[in-house]
Amino acid sequence: MKILYFAWLRTEIGLAEESASPPASIKTAGALIDWLAALSPGHAAAFEKRDSIRVAIDQEFAELDSCLSGASEVAFFPPVTGG
Protein backbone atom coordinates (compact mmCIF):
# COMPACT_ATOMS: atom_id res chain seq x y z
CA MET A 1 0.00 0.00 0.00
CA LYS A 2 1.33 3.42 -1.01
CA ILE A 3 0.98 6.14 1.65
CA LEU A 4 1.19 9.81 0.60
CA TYR A 5 1.59 12.89 2.80
CA PHE A 6 0.90 16.48 1.81
CA ALA A 7 1.44 19.96 3.26
CA TRP A 8 2.42 19.99 6.95
CA LEU A 9 2.00 16.23 7.28
CA ARG A 10 4.70 15.86 4.63
CA THR A 11 7.04 18.37 6.27
CA GLU A 12 6.51 17.03 9.81
CA ILE A 13 6.93 13.39 8.87
CA GLY A 14 9.74 14.28 6.50
CA LEU A 15 8.38 12.05 3.73
CA ALA A 16 6.15 12.68 0.70
CA GLU A 17 5.53 8.99 0.15
CA GLU A 18 6.24 5.61 1.70
CA SER A 19 5.24 1.98 1.24
CA ALA A 20 3.42 0.27 4.08
CA SER A 21 2.12 -3.23 4.68
CA PRO A 22 -0.28 -2.91 7.60
CA PRO A 23 -1.65 -6.16 9.04
CA ALA A 24 -5.08 -7.37 7.97
CA SER A 25 -6.51 -6.17 11.28
CA ILE A 26 -6.13 -2.54 10.07
CA LYS A 27 -9.46 -2.07 8.34
CA THR A 28 -10.12 1.68 8.38
CA ALA A 29 -8.25 4.89 7.59
CA GLY A 30 -8.41 5.78 11.28
CA ALA A 31 -6.85 2.48 12.29
CA LEU A 32 -4.15 3.04 9.67
CA ILE A 33 -3.35 6.39 11.32
CA ASP A 34 -2.85 4.67 14.69
CA TRP A 35 -0.62 2.06 13.06
CA LEU A 36 1.43 4.64 11.10
CA ALA A 37 1.80 6.84 14.21
CA ALA A 38 3.83 4.06 15.83
CA LEU A 39 6.42 4.06 13.03
CA SER A 40 8.50 7.05 14.23
CA PRO A 41 8.36 10.05 16.58
CA GLY A 42 7.78 12.23 13.48
CA HIS A 43 4.78 10.13 12.49
CA ALA A 44 3.49 10.20 16.06
CA ALA A 45 3.77 14.01 16.28
CA ALA A 46 2.10 14.62 12.91
CA PHE A 47 -0.77 12.20 13.49
CA GLU A 48 -1.51 13.66 16.92
CA LYS A 49 -3.50 16.49 15.27
CA ARG A 50 -6.09 13.98 14.20
CA ASP A 51 -8.94 16.52 13.93
CA SER A 52 -6.94 18.46 11.34
CA ILE A 53 -6.23 15.45 9.15
CA ARG A 54 -8.19 14.52 6.06
CA VAL A 55 -7.81 11.33 4.06
CA ALA A 56 -8.19 10.16 0.47
CA ILE A 57 -8.40 6.47 -0.47
CA ASP A 58 -7.37 5.74 -4.05
CA GLN A 59 -7.63 9.46 -4.87
CA GLU A 60 -11.16 9.92 -3.51
CA PHE A 61 -11.94 11.86 -0.34
CA ALA A 62 -12.85 9.47 2.48
CA GLU A 63 -13.62 9.51 6.20
CA LEU A 64 -11.50 8.18 9.05
CA ASP A 65 -13.95 5.30 9.45
CA SER A 66 -13.89 4.52 5.71
CA CYS A 67 -12.93 0.96 4.84
CA LEU A 68 -9.48 0.37 3.34
CA SER A 69 -10.30 -2.95 1.69
CA GLY A 70 -8.45 -3.23 -1.61
CA ALA A 71 -6.98 0.28 -1.36
CA SER A 72 -3.66 0.71 -3.13
CA GLU A 73 -3.06 4.40 -2.31
CA VAL A 74 -3.95 6.26 0.87
CA ALA A 75 -3.16 9.96 1.29
CA PHE A 76 -3.19 12.09 4.45
CA PHE A 77 -3.31 15.87 4.38
CA PRO A 78 -4.82 18.92 6.09
CA PRO A 79 -8.06 20.53 4.82
CA VAL A 80 -7.45 21.90 1.33
CA THR A 81 -6.60 25.57 0.73
CA GLY A 82 -6.41 26.03 -3.04
CA GLY A 83 -8.03 28.49 -5.41
Binding site: L4, F6, A7, W8, R10, T11, A56, Q59, E60, F61, A75, F77, P78, P79, V80, T81, G82, G83
Partner: protein
Protein backbone atom coordinates in the same frame (compact mmCIF):
# COMPACT_ATOMS: atom_id res chain seq x y z
CA UNK B 1 -14.86 21.24 -21.46
CA UNK B 2 -11.38 21.04 -20.04
CA UNK B 3 -9.36 20.96 -16.86
CA UNK B 4 -5.68 21.88 -16.73
CA UNK B 5 -3.28 21.61 -13.82
CA UNK B 6 -0.07 23.39 -14.71
CA UNK B 7 2.77 25.54 -13.42
CA UNK B 8 2.70 27.87 -16.44
CA UNK B 9 0.79 31.14 -16.53
CA UNK B 10 -2.47 31.56 -18.50
CA UNK B 11 -4.22 34.37 -20.34
CA UNK B 12 -7.95 34.77 -19.87
CA UNK B 13 -8.26 36.65 -23.18
CA UNK B 14 -6.50 33.92 -25.15
CA UNK B 15 -8.57 31.13 -23.56
CA UNK B 16 -11.82 32.99 -23.97
CA UNK B 17 -11.11 33.83 -27.62
CA UNK B 18 -10.20 30.19 -28.33
CA UNK B 19 -13.37 28.87 -26.72
CA UNK B 20 -15.76 31.30 -28.42
CA UNK B 21 -14.08 31.25 -31.84
CA UNK B 22 -16.48 30.39 -34.67
CA UNK B 23 -19.44 29.92 -32.32
CA UNK B 24 -22.72 31.73 -32.91
CA UNK B 25 -24.61 30.36 -29.90
CA UNK B 26 -22.64 31.86 -27.00
CA UNK B 27 -24.30 34.86 -25.37
CA UNK B 28 -22.37 35.01 -22.10
CA UNK B 29 -18.83 34.36 -20.93
CA UNK B 30 -18.18 34.66 -17.20
CA UNK B 31 -14.69 34.32 -15.83
CA UNK B 32 -12.87 34.41 -12.56
CA UNK B 33 -9.14 34.77 -11.96
CA UNK B 34 -7.73 34.21 -8.48
CA UNK B 35 -4.48 36.06 -7.82
CA UNK B 36 -1.82 35.72 -5.10
CA UNK B 37 -1.96 38.78 -2.88
CA UNK B 38 0.27 40.38 -0.32
CA UNK B 39 -2.00 40.99 2.62
CA UNK B 40 -3.88 38.42 4.55
CA UNK B 41 -6.17 40.14 7.02
CA UNK B 42 -6.85 36.87 8.83
CA UNK B 43 -3.29 36.42 9.85
CA UNK B 44 -2.20 39.82 11.12
CA UNK B 45 -0.28 42.51 9.34
CA UNK B 46 2.81 40.71 8.11
CA UNK B 47 2.89 40.89 4.31
CA UNK B 48 3.10 37.74 2.21
CA UNK B 49 6.37 37.62 0.24
CA UNK B 50 5.41 34.54 -1.75
CA UNK B 51 3.27 31.43 -1.58
CA UNK B 52 3.78 27.89 -2.75
CA UNK B 53 0.88 25.77 -3.89
CA UNK B 54 1.34 22.04 -3.48
CA UNK B 55 -1.14 19.59 -4.95
CA UNK B 56 -1.92 15.90 -5.27
CA UNK B 57 -1.14 14.96 -8.90
CA UNK B 58 -3.75 12.58 -10.26
CA UNK B 59 -6.33 13.30 -7.60
CA UNK B 60 -6.33 17.00 -8.50
CA UNK B 61 -7.30 16.29 -12.10
CA UNK B 62 -9.95 13.78 -10.99
CA UNK B 63 -11.49 16.21 -8.54
CA UNK B 64 -11.51 19.11 -10.98
CA UNK B 65 -13.12 16.89 -13.61
CA UNK B 66 -15.75 15.77 -11.10
CA UNK B 67 -16.48 19.38 -10.12
CA UNK B 68 -16.76 20.36 -13.78
CA UNK B 69 -19.10 17.41 -14.46
CA UNK B 70 -21.28 18.55 -11.55
CA UNK B 71 -21.49 22.06 -13.00
CA UNK B 72 -22.45 20.67 -16.41
CA UNK B 73 -25.14 18.54 -14.80
CA UNK B 74 -26.60 21.53 -12.97
CA UNK B 75 -26.47 24.18 -15.71
CA UNK B 76 -26.79 24.26 -19.52
CA UNK B 77 -23.17 25.22 -20.19
CA UNK B 78 -21.90 25.48 -23.74
CA UNK B 79 -18.31 25.09 -22.54
CA UNK B 80 -16.16 25.60 -19.48
CA UNK B 81 -12.53 25.64 -18.50
CA UNK B 82 -10.68 25.30 -15.21
CA UNK B 83 -6.96 26.05 -15.03
CA UNK B 84 -5.25 25.70 -11.66
CA UNK B 85 -1.55 26.40 -11.28
CA UNK B 86 0.88 24.92 -8.75
CA UNK B 87 4.34 26.06 -7.70
CA UNK B 88 5.68 29.25 -6.16
CA UNK B 89 3.88 32.54 -6.68
CA UNK B 90 4.49 36.14 -5.74
CA UNK B 91 1.77 38.71 -5.06
CA UNK B 92 0.18 39.64 -8.37
CA UNK B 93 0.64 36.21 -9.97
CA UNK B 94 -2.57 34.62 -11.27
CA UNK B 95 -3.23 31.18 -9.76
CA UNK B 96 -6.61 29.95 -10.91
CA UNK B 97 -8.91 30.59 -13.86
CA UNK B 98 -12.52 29.52 -14.30
CA UNK B 99 -14.35 30.33 -17.53
CA UNK B 100 -17.97 29.45 -18.32
CA UNK B 101 -19.86 29.87 -21.59
CA UNK B 102 -23.62 29.85 -21.89
CA UNK B 103 -26.46 31.35 -23.88
CA UNK B 104 -27.56 33.38 -20.88
CA UNK B 105 -25.70 35.42 -18.34
CA UNK B 106 -27.25 34.05 -15.16
CA UNK B 107 -26.20 30.51 -16.05
CA UNK B 108 -22.64 31.61 -16.84
CA UNK B 109 -22.38 33.61 -13.60
CA UNK B 110 -23.86 30.90 -11.36
CA UNK B 111 -21.76 28.09 -12.82
CA UNK B 112 -18.58 30.17 -12.59
CA UNK B 113 -19.20 30.98 -8.95
CA UNK B 114 -20.16 27.39 -8.16
CA UNK B 115 -16.95 26.09 -9.74
CA UNK B 116 -14.81 28.48 -7.70
CA UNK B 117 -16.66 27.72 -4.45
CA UNK B 118 -16.38 23.97 -4.89
CA UNK B 119 -12.82 24.09 -6.11
CA UNK B 120 -11.81 25.96 -2.94
CA UNK B 121 -12.98 23.11 -0.72
CA UNK B 122 -12.75 20.04 -2.96
CA UNK B 123 -9.55 20.35 -5.00
CA UNK B 124 -6.46 18.95 -3.23
CA UNK B 125 -4.25 22.05 -3.11
CA UNK B 126 -2.38 23.39 -0.09
CA UNK B 127 -0.93 26.86 0.32
CA UNK B 128 2.26 27.66 2.16
CA UNK B 129 2.92 31.36 2.71
CA UNK B 130 6.32 32.98 3.14
CA UNK B 131 6.56 36.08 5.29
CA UNK B 132 9.57 37.79 6.90
CA UNK B 133 9.10 35.44 9.89
CA UNK B 134 9.31 32.31 7.74
CA UNK B 135 7.01 29.88 5.99
CA UNK B 136 3.69 28.62 7.29
CA UNK B 137 0.88 26.45 5.97
CA UNK B 138 -2.35 28.38 5.50
CA UNK B 139 -5.33 27.11 7.51
CA UNK B 140 -8.59 26.41 5.71
CA UNK B 141 -11.27 29.05 6.02
CA UNK B 142 -14.74 28.56 7.46
CA UNK B 143 -16.03 31.13 4.99
CA UNK B 144 -14.91 28.88 2.12
CA UNK B 145 -16.76 25.93 3.64
CA UNK B 146 -19.86 28.07 3.96
CA UNK B 147 -19.57 29.26 0.36
CA UNK B 148 -19.31 25.66 -0.89
CA UNK B 149 -22.16 24.58 1.37
CA UNK B 150 -24.61 27.05 -0.12
CA UNK B 151 -24.57 25.01 -3.37
CA UNK B 152 -25.64 21.82 -1.59
CA UNK B 153 -28.77 20.42 -3.08
CA UNK B 154 -31.78 20.12 -0.81
CA UNK B 155 -31.96 16.45 0.17
Amino acid sequence: MAVRVQSEAFDVGVESARMTKGRRDVGAVASFVGIAREDNPDEGAEPVIAMTLEHYPGMTERQLEAIEAEARARWPLLDCLIIHRYGRFEPGDPIVLVLTLSSHRQVAFDACQFLMDWLKTKAPFWKQEETASGARWVASRKSDDAAAEKWSKPS
